[in-house]
């Protein structure tokens, strides 16, 4: 089912929670809402679910206006960070809850319910746990049961609020693959909220980066990672460094020396240059490069990184250490950018 969100505004008292949020999601997509806490991502998810309501704007489910529908009537499956399983019910009864809650004429028979529940338990790979109670399950198992419960009502949309947020790192990684796999098999249109960029980039078809109630960027994981459209996205996702230049007649100057940067055209005035460590080449110091002193060497996963102190105020930037040449701490080096982002500084 396509989901269309337009012009959403929401505030809690005086603090704006969402500001003019527009988003369209195609049927079958797996979308991540990624942002720091307070960015409005959970509010957006709850508005889609009907657990919260916007001040203005609309939510269209498959072209039909759902803005004023109650959560009960939206037919969405919601998975909560802390599972929200019904403690006093067995796993079976938890999953069957949504089917049994239907009005009598739409309610399947107990036999049909049993078939459904068992199929869902198979789907979440926990076929033997039907008689257990939530307290007897591990966190990862609870969350998978919560998925099964949400999917039991044949939702038009699956909404996940930090689904792996309460789990430890190892289980999180396992469940990421599990979720990706589950999505491939069931094809539910899915929106999930996370503050974990690895999770978003690894699992989602498209990532919606949010900050302070606004959408900063929407794009495939590669787009969001390789071509951030704002300083926030550079800083929030992946590693990045920054230095500032002054542009005169289209030519950038770093502390009054002209430098070469990988941009076709630059607006005159002060600009902040953002770049990723892997988009750099470190060379001998030469006029025209960003020159500095090596302050440290460190390992970051597969890569080795150089910390360079550049300019008069010795700003530290990170660059990829070259394979063919060794730079020791204290040595001078020049930095060449392969790509990056330039953002005009206000004032």
């Amino acid at each position: 089912m396509n989901l269309e969100i337009g012009g959403l505004h929401k505030d809690y008292g005086k603090t704006p929670a969402l500001h003019d949020v527009n988003l369209s999601i195609r049927s079958g997509e797996l979308i991540a809402l990624l942002g720091p806490s307070g960015s409005g991502k959970t509010t957006l998810l709850r508005i889609i679910a009907g657990l919260d309501f916007p001040k203005s704007g609309h939510v269209l489910f498959g072209g039909e206006d759902a803005s004023h529908k109650r959560v009960q009537d939206r037919n969405v499956g919601f998975v909560f960070q802390h599972y929200a399983l019904f403690k006093h019910m067995s796993v079976f009864d938890n999953i069957a809850f949504g089917l049994r809650a239907r009005p009598r004429r739409a309610r399947p028979s107990e036999a049909e319910i049993a078939v459904r529940v068992n199929a869902l338990l198979e789907l979440v790979q926990l076929p033997d746990l039907a008689k257990r109670y939530p307290a007897q399950l591990s966190g990862g198992q609870r969350q998978r049961i919560a998925f099964a419960r949400a999917m039991a009502v044949e939702p038009r949309l699956l909404l996940l609020d930090e689904p792996f947020g309460a789990l430890d790192a190892k289980v999180r990684r396992e469940l990421r693959h599990w979720l990706r796999d589950l999505h491939t098999r069931t094809g539910h249109t899915t929106v999930f909220v996370t503050h974990d960029q690895d999770e978003a980039l690894e699992v989602a078809d498209r990532v919606v980066v949010m900050n302070k109630g606004k959408i900063e960027q929407i794009g495939a994981p590669d787009e969001v990672y390789d071509d951030p459209v704002s300083p926030f996205v550079y800083e929030f996702i992946g590693e990045s460094s920054r230095f500032d230049v002054e542009v005169f007649s289209g030519k950038p100057y770093f502390e009054e020396r002209p430098v070469g940067l990988p941009f076709n055209s630059l607006q005159d005035g002060p600009q902040a240059i953002y770049f990723r460590p892997q988009d750099t080449i470190v060379e001998e110091p030469t006029p025209g490069l960003i020159n500095g002193v090596v302050r440290g060497l460190r390992r970051s996963g597969a890569a080795r990184r150089l910390e360079l102190a550049i300019g008069a105020n010795e700003r530290i930037v990170e660059a990829e250490a070259p394979d063919d040449r060794h730079f020791g701490v204290g040595q001078r080096a020049g930095l060449r950018l392969k790509r990056g982002g330039a953002f005009a500084l206000a004032g």
Binding site: A49, G50, L51, R70, V71, Q72, N75, V76, G77, F78, F80, H82, A84, L85, F86, K87, H88, F97, G98, A101, R102, R149, A150, A152, V153
Partner: protein, 290 residues
């Protein structure tokens, strides 16, 4: 196999444990006070009740006045406890799950009966509904008797037992939040079904616990009821009032015999309460009252 302890091991003890002498002294004081103030008086009640044997004891319970007082007490509890349970659930629901103007005031007001003397509570009702009270003339004109009648006793008891259920539920429901309810609603359950299948099961033991305490207090209340009852024999005397009247008439066996019933009620309440606490302690846990 016994493991050899190094000889120095006994010299160390946990930093929070006191010396044996101090421990003995503290435990001794506690046990002595408990015995002096609770166990001994309780024992006296039973000893006095049976002072002249079993028959006078049993005879007390065929006295029509005593029977009437037991019936009245049961009636008052039967009206008061469900009403307070209903009120307690609504108040706790409102306070824990919504935010609205005046919420803090409501929380404070719920505690009011704990801080007001029961006698004052009784007097308030006399001033409101008594013959010379604010609504007195209107009530008299319409032939409605509240003070010196059963409705007054029920009102006073409701006032005194007001906070019991609510205070039990508020911290629990606040801690539980609305996650389970949201889950049920998102699965398509109606409001009523959500309440019956998620909210109520989540609070059932705390609710039972609150009801139990509320019941014990409703049956045992003396001060507020005494003011509004008028002590009409066989009509407006509850068990505590009956006990006082028997005692004042030097009918000691009668007074203590009736008291054993209330005492037994207290013991049963305590037993159930202890059982609930050991079995469902986590669910009941919440702020213990003043």
């Amino acid at each position: 196999m016994t493991v050899e302890q190094p000889p120095t091991a006994q010299k160390f003890r946990s930093p929070t444990t006191e010396a044996p002498v101090v421990r003995l002294l503290l435990i001794g004081v506690a046990v002595f006070c408990m015995g002096l103030f609770f166990v001994l008086p309780m024992a006296v009640v039973f000893v006095e009740a049976f002072a002249r044997g079993v028959w006078p004891y049993l005879a007390n319970f065929v006295d029509p006045e005593v029977v009437a007082s037991i019936q009245l007490t049961l009636l008052v509890a039967a009206i008061t406890v469900p009403l307070n349970a209903l009120f307690g659930i609504s108040a706790a629901w409102a306070i824990a799950k919504f935010s609205f103007p005046g919420k803090t005031l409501l929380v404070t007001l719920i505690d009011l009966p704990f801080s007001v003397s029961p006698v004052v509570a009784g007097l308030i009702y006399v001033l409101l509904y008594g013959v010379n009270g604010v609504f007195g003339p209107w009530l008299v004109a319409h032939g409605i008797g509240i003070i010196f009648a059963v409705p007054g006793i029920v009102l006073a008891t409701i006032f005194v037992t007001f906070p019991f259920v609510a205070r039990e539920l508020i911290p629990l429901m606040q801690e539980q939040g609305v996650g389970d309810e949201e889950a049920a609603l998102s699965l398509g359950a109606s409001g009523l079904s959500t309440f019956l299948h998620t909210t109520l099961p989540n609070i059932r033991w705390a609710l039972l616990y609150g009801v139990l305490l509320c019941n014990a207090r409703a049956m045992g209340e003396f001060g507020a009821v005494s003011v509004v009852s008028g002590h009409l024999r066989g009509l407006t005397t509850t068990m505590p009032l009956q006990i006082e009247m028997s005692y004042n008439e030097y009918n000691f066996v009668g007074a203590f015999a009736t008291a054993t019933l209330l005492g037994a009620l207290a013991l049963v309440t305590l037993a159930i309460k202890t059982l609930l606490e050991t079995r469902y302690g986590d669910e009941i846990a919440g702020a213990r009252r003043v």
